[in-house]
Symmetry: C2
Subunit: 380 residues, 2 copies
C-alpha cells in the first residue's frame, strides 16, 4: 500500500502501447552507460541523415535525450525510430516550414504544414515568450503539426526566460468518452512550468489517462487483478480483470474528470487552433497517416505581474512549505512537481544513460541504415 504513496514523478510516462508492453516484460540486458552528449550527437546525425536541417535535427535530438535525462525513457531516444519512420514515409515534412498565418499582437497562429512537432512547438514557445515580453502574456496556436514528444521541454523554455509556460496538445484517440466503448479522445497532455527561485523549475506534465497500458500487460503476466478505474472491457464496463482490460480501453485519470479535461485540451489544441481534433488526429506510433496535431502555447511574463525576484522568493517559500509537511509513515521525502526530473538529470549527466537492449538494437539498425556512427559502447 505504501508503495503508491512514495514520491513519484509528476509527469506522464506513457509509451506506445505495444512497445511499452514489451518494455514492461523485459529487463535491460545491456546496461553500458552512454554519455548524453554522445547520444545527442548520434540522434542529431540520424535526424540530419533523413533530411532535417542541422538546427532542427539538433533540437529534435535534444528533446529525446532530455527526456531520457529526466528519467522519462518512454519519451526518450527509444522513439527516434518512430519519428524517423514518419519522416521517411513523407507524412512528416523533414524541412519544417512554419507559416505565421495570424500575427496579432499578443496572439499568433502558426500553420505547421506537417512539419516536426518538436520544431513547431519550440517555435511556438519562442513566439509566445516574445509576445509575453511585449504584452505581458502571449498565446500561440499551432495547427497541422505532429507529436512533439514531451510538453515540459517547451514550457521549461518559458520558465528559463522568466515566464510561466503552458502547453497543451491533442493526440491520437486513446480513451472512450465517459460512457462510451470506443476510442475517440486522446491522452491530450498539458504542462505548466515556472521558475522556482533557488530550486529547479516547478513543472508538471500530465497525460489524462489513468494508467500506462504496459502496467495492465504486467498484471496479466503476473495473474493479478488491476485496480478499479484503470480500464473498461470491450462492452465499456469497468473491469478489474487484466485480460478483459486488454480487450478494452484504458480509462481517463480521475474517472469522468479526466475525460472532461482531455476534451478541454482538444478544444484548445485542435478546435481553437484550426487543426484536426478528435478521431482525426494521428499519433507517432504508425508511419502512414499525417498527424493533424494541434498545440496551444501560452507564456505569462512574470515581471508583468510582480518583480521576478519576488516571485522566485515566493516559490522558494511555497516549495519549502510543501516539503516541510509531516511525512506519511514509510515516506522519506515530499517532492514538488519537477524535483525528481531535475535530480534524475543531474545523476544521468554525471553517470551516463543506460538504455534497454532492444532500444540499442533499434538504434544500431538506424545507424546501419543511415551511415551514422553509433556510440562505441553499443558495439555488440
Amino acid at each position: 500500500m505504501h508503495e503508491t504513496m512514495n514520491p513519484m514523478s509528476f509527469v506522464r510516462t506513457k509509451a506506445a502501447p505495444e512497445r511499452e508492453a514489451e518494455l514492461a516484460l523485459r529487463e535491460p540486458i545491456a546496461p553500458a552507460r552512454v554519455a548524453a552528449e554522445d547520444l545527442l550527437a548520434f540522434s542529431g546525425a540520424v535526424y540530419e541523415a533523413v533530411g532535417l536541417p542541422r538546427r532542427d535535427a539538433e533540437l529534435a535530438a535534444d528533446t529525446l535525450v532530455q527526456a531520457d535525462l529526466w528519467g522519462h525513457q518512454s519519451h526518450g531516444v527509444m522513439r527516434l525510430p518512430w519519428y524517423v519512420a514518419r519522416i521517411r514515409s513523407g507524412v512528416v515534412a523533414a524541412q519544417a516550414q512554419p507559416e505565421l498565418v495570424v500575427d496579432g499582437g499578443a496572439v499568433a497562429v502558426i500553420d505547421g504544414h506537417d512539419g516536426m512537432g518538436q520544431v513547431l512547438a519550440a517555435r511556438a514557445a519562442e513566439e509566445a515568450i516574445a509576445r509575453a515580453k511585449a504584452h505581458g502574456i502571449g498565446a500561440v496556436a499551432v495547427r497541422n503539426s505532429n507529436h512533439f514528444g514531451t510538453a515540459m521541454y517547451f514550457t521549461l523554455m518559458a520558465a528559463a526566460r522568466g515566464c510561466i509556460g503552458f502547453l497543451s496538445t491533442n493526440a491520437s484517440p486513446a480513451m472512450a468518452p465517459w460512457g462510451g466503448r470506443e476510442k475517440a479522445v486522446g491522452t491530450n497532455p498539458w504542462s505548466w512550468a515556472a521558475p522556482a527561485g533557488t530550486n529547479p523549475p516547478f513543472v508538471l506534465d500530465i497525460a489524462n489517462t489513468a494508467v500506462a497500458r504496459g502496467k495492465i500487460y504486467l498484471a496479466r503476466q503476473k495473474g493479478l487483478p488491476i485496480p478499479e478505474g484503470w480500464a473498461i472491457d470491450a462492452d465499456g464496463a469497468p473491469t478489474t480483470d487484466a485480460v478483459a482490460a486488454l480487450g478494452g480501453i484504458t480509462m481517463p485519470m480521475a474517472g469522468h474528470k479526466g475525460y472532461a479535461i482531455a476534451a478541454a485540451m482538444d478544444m484548445l489544441s485542435g478546435v481553437l487552433t484550426g487543426s484536426s481534433f478528435g478521431k482525426a488526429v494521428t499519433g507517432p506510433y504508425q508511419a502512414e497517416r499525417r498527424g493533424g496535431t494541434g498545440h496551444l502555447m501560452l507564456a505569462l511574463n512574470i515581471e508583468a505581474f510582480q518583480p521576478l525576484a519576488e516571485f522566485e522568493q515566493r516559490m522558494d517559500d511555497y516549495i519549502a512549505e510543501l516539503k516541510g509537511v509531516a511525512l506519511a509513515r514509510g515516506v522519506e521525502e515530499i517532492v514538488y512537481p519537477g524535483e525528481l526530473e531535475a535530480r534524475n538529470e543531474a545523476a544521468n549527466r554525471r553517470d551516463g544513460l543506460t538504455l534497454p537492449a532492444d532500444t540499442i538494437l533499434d538504434l544500431l539498425k538506424l545507424a546501419a541504415e543511415t551511415g551514422c556512427k553509433a556510440p562505441p559502447q553499443w558495439t555488440l
Copy 2:
C-alpha cells in the same frame, strides 16, 4: 459497477465537509418548489441588508442561485449563511474596493482588499475579456480576495462574449502533499469554458480532490469500505476503511497527479498574483480569518485565432463526434462537459428549485435576522 459509468456532471460538487455530511445523511423533507427569481430576490436582499451595494448584492446572489439552477446545490444558496457570517465578522469587506495595481496592456493585477470573491472574480472576468478584445488574450490576477463560489460562473462570462475563459483559484488546505499526512494544499479549483455553437457552452470546473468528504460519511453510515484512492488515515497511509478515512485526509484526484495540479493552481492563483498561498489561505467555512485568496483569470478572444462562426461550427462537430461514440452497455447517452448543467438549468427554471429542509431553516433564520422577506412557500 455500471453505475459509475453513467453520464455525470463534470464539475465539482464539494461542500463544506461537515455540512455536506449532514446533507448526505438526510432526505429533503420540504420539497416546496421556489422560482429562481424569488430565491434571487431574497438572497440579493440579504446581501444588501448586510452592507453590499445593490449591484454587488445582485451579482453575489446570482452566483448562488445559478449554482442551484445548474444542479450544484453544494455551491448554491445553502452557502449564503457562511458568506454572510464572514461579512458580519468583518473579514470580508462588504463594500468591495478593487484596486488596479497593475494595468499593463494585456495584463492587469487587482488588489481585492478583502472584498467579496464573487465581485472581484466578476471584475477580473470583465477586465480579462476587455483586454482579450484589445490584444487577443488577457490575463487578470486577483490578490487578497475571498472564496468566489463556482469558477464556471466567471469563465462562462467569457464564453458568452466569444472568448475562451480560464479561471483558477487557491483555497484553504484540504489535502496533504503527496507523501504527507497534514493538510497543506487546497482543492484549488479551475475551469475552462468556451462557446459551443448550437450547443450550450462547453465548460469544465474541476476541484482536485478525489471525492467529496460526504461520500465517506455515507460509507461509514452504511458500514461499507471506501475505494482505494479516496483517503489516507491519520498516519498518511491509504485506507479503504471509512472510519480511518474520517480520521485522516481526503486524497487528491488521480493520486499524485492531482497533488501536482493543485500545487500548480496555487502557483498561478497565489504565488503569481501576490496573494496568500498554501496554508495561509482561509476558506468560507469559518468566519473569523481573512481569506487571502488569489485567482487568475484568462480570456482568449476566439476571433483573434479564427472566425468565431468557424470555431462554433467546429465545436458542434467535435461535440457530435463525442456524443456519437458507441455506448457502453447500460449507458443511455454520452454527454460533453457542461451539457448536464444546461439541462438542469432548463428544468429548474421551468419547475422551480427544491432545497433541503435545513437549508430552508437556515435561510428563514437569515430572513428573520435581516428583516428580508423569505419566499412564501417556506412559511412553515
